[in-house]
């Protein structure tokens, strides 16, 4: 990997860490539970993106597997929590 591309990769990792700070703020301070669930979903996607960019940086193709699994599992958790909230609301009414 040439020098300028490595600099761009490090800048991308910095931008992703700033975006993770934003979603972490929403995860901690979110006024409702659904805000926190959305923030957690976005956080897992951002973690998958960080792992993919890191795999590109260090030249390890095996790390892309981790990003693949994380991208699949994160949205799955959001889906399950949404179904739980939906059915919990229905049962009470």
């Amino acid at each position: 990997m040439s020098g300028w591309l490595e600099v761009i990769t490090q800048g991308v990792l910095g931008a992703l860490s700033i975006a993770m700070m934003f979603s972490l703020h929403r995860l901690i301070r979110g006024p409702s539970l659904t805000d926190r669930v959305v923030a957690l979903d976005l956080f897992s996607l951002q973690t998958a993106a960080v792992i993919a960019v890191y795999a590109l940086w260090v030249g390890q193709p095996e790390l892309v597997d981790v990003a693949l699994v994380l991208a699949v599992i994160g949205s799955m958790g959001t889906l399950v929590i949404a179904r739980y909230l939906y059915s919990a609301k229905r049962r009470r009414s």
Binding site: M1, I8, T9, S23, D35, L56, L85
Partner: protein
């Protein structure tokens, strides 16, 4: 040539992920936050996975990146729809400057969602 394409994918993907995080941080309402977070982040992850696939240039990496992008593009809209539905039914308040709410009669401002039940008890 391949490095230029990798750099372009990296920069556009990082800008989209930053936009998604900023939208989640700044938007005034849960539904607007969801709108910002769900769409921009899926495209951003797709671009960054594409950057990893192009930059590493291996067939197995390309296959895994395509699989991950397909899963993200299928799962993220479904998850966003379901979480928005659950939040709307729980009666989350809309932003006060939201000027179109097609379910206004079922969802008075800030109040809980009250479905009109049909003859079989379903709304």
């Amino acid at each position: 040539m391949r490095e230029v394409l990798t750099a372009a994918l990296l920069i556009s993907g990082a800008l989209l992920m930053l936009l998604a995080g900023l939208g989640l941080f700044r938007m005034p309402d849960m539904f607007l936050r969801l709108h910002a977070a769900a769409k921009a982040s899926s495209l951003g992850v797709g671009l960054l996975m594409g950057a990893a696939a192009v930059g590493l240039g291996d067939v197995s990496v390309v296959a895994r990146a395509v699989l991950a992008v397909a899963f993200v593009f299928v799962m993220t809209p479904v998850a966003a729809l379901l979480i928005a539905q659950a939040a709307f039914r729980a009666g989350l308040p809309l932003w006060e400057r939201t000027h179109q709410n097609d379910l206004e009669e079922h969802h008075p401002r800030g109040g809980p969602y009250e479905p009109r039940l049909g003859p079989d008890g379903e709304d």
